[in-house]
Amino acid sequence: MSEEREPRVIEETYEVGVVETPPPSPPEYELLYSWPTPTRPPKPNRRSSIPIVIASIALVLSILSLSIIASPAIRQLFTGMSVISMTTTTVTKPFVIAVETTTLITTSTTISTKVTMSTVLITANIEKLELRFTPTKTGKSLTLNITLDEKPSDTITKENFKVNYWYSNDTMKTVEKKDINVTSENEEPQKYTLNATLPIDSVKVETCFLYGERSLCLIIYSE
């Protein structure tokens, strides 16, 4: 019978170090792609000259645009709120819904911030989702409408929602539960509305809908 050997336990530990190194940057590197894609056009090079014809066309178009916005009927579309709407497509896997994110940006003269990007990540049976920012005297009012395609087994309350927001210096704050208001309509499909107020100078908000082991988070960057 062979002699029994004690197992050798490897107890070496390695410290994970943070490496001080600059990120890739011009001129050595060129940026090929980024996500989120900046929606703001790059600042034009002052030395470059735009052909006068193009500049003239742009001027005419901008005057025309202003005329359209000035129309009372159209103006309603542009004032009041920014809306992001998303459509959902059910896939075969249970509880997984692929959400097509579309960023519909409507600028508004009454909102000092502009929604520049949205993302959705999903693991819930959410049929429809709509988010609105509305300006208030004290900040930005966030409204999130969620429509579930099934009647949930548990009552949906404010505990099912979490809202975090960030300032430009990366400081994160969580909206207190007392400042979150959730209402629902007792009908099929189930509709829920979340209301929360964010500071006017917040630059990013993460709204999470937590339901059992499933969660949906929506991130909005503002600037």
Partner: protein, 156 residues
């Protein structure tokens, strides 16, 4: 450029290489490790991914499981090629051939079980639709979120 708005920085050869690896296994899923550094610059943390190691997996179109022998081989490759104190296994990648960029329940479980460090990320690649996206566990560790990234190419 406000580089710090992007949490992840990587290079064209990394993304292109991973796409090629994922195309090789079509119609099945592919997976592997992301190699890089947890970096800091001007007081801001970021993740720099400069390489990857493919891992063979037992996979179907909708499911992939890394082969244990291949994991060992990948770790040996990592130690041999990146055995410095800077490089880490920064996360993992896997493909969703033709069914888009999202994190499934199984992916979420993989991420929250095996990739628990603040620098750990997941890359999902759809080689058929030519789409990809990075994901990172949220601070409360209850959900996983899309992570911002920048792809760079070295000028010649």
């Amino acid at each position: 450029m406000r580089w710090h708005i992007y949490k992840i920085h990587t290079f064209d050869y990394v993304i292109e290489g991973i796409f090629k690896e994922c195309e090789k296994t079509l119609p099945n899923e592919a997976s592997g490790y992301l190699i890089g550094m947890f970096s800091i610059w001007n007081g801001k943390h970021f993740i720099l991914i400069d390489n990857y190691i493919p891992v063979e997996s037992h996979s179907t179109e909708y499911y992939g499981e890394m082969d244990i022998t291949s994991i060992g081989e990948a770790l040996r490759k990592f130690m041999k090629s990146f055995g410095d104190t800077k490089h880490l296994i920064i996360g993992w990648y896997h493909s969703h051939p033709g069914y888009g960029i999202f994190i499934s329940d199984i992916d979420l479980r993989t991420q929250t079980t095996f990739f628990t460090q603040p620098f750990h990320v997941a890359l999902v690649v759809d080689p058929i639709n030519r789409e990809y996206g990075f994901f990172k566990t949220s601070d409360n560790r209850k959900s996983i979120l899309r992570a911002s990234f920048a792809i760079w190419r070295k000028r010649v």
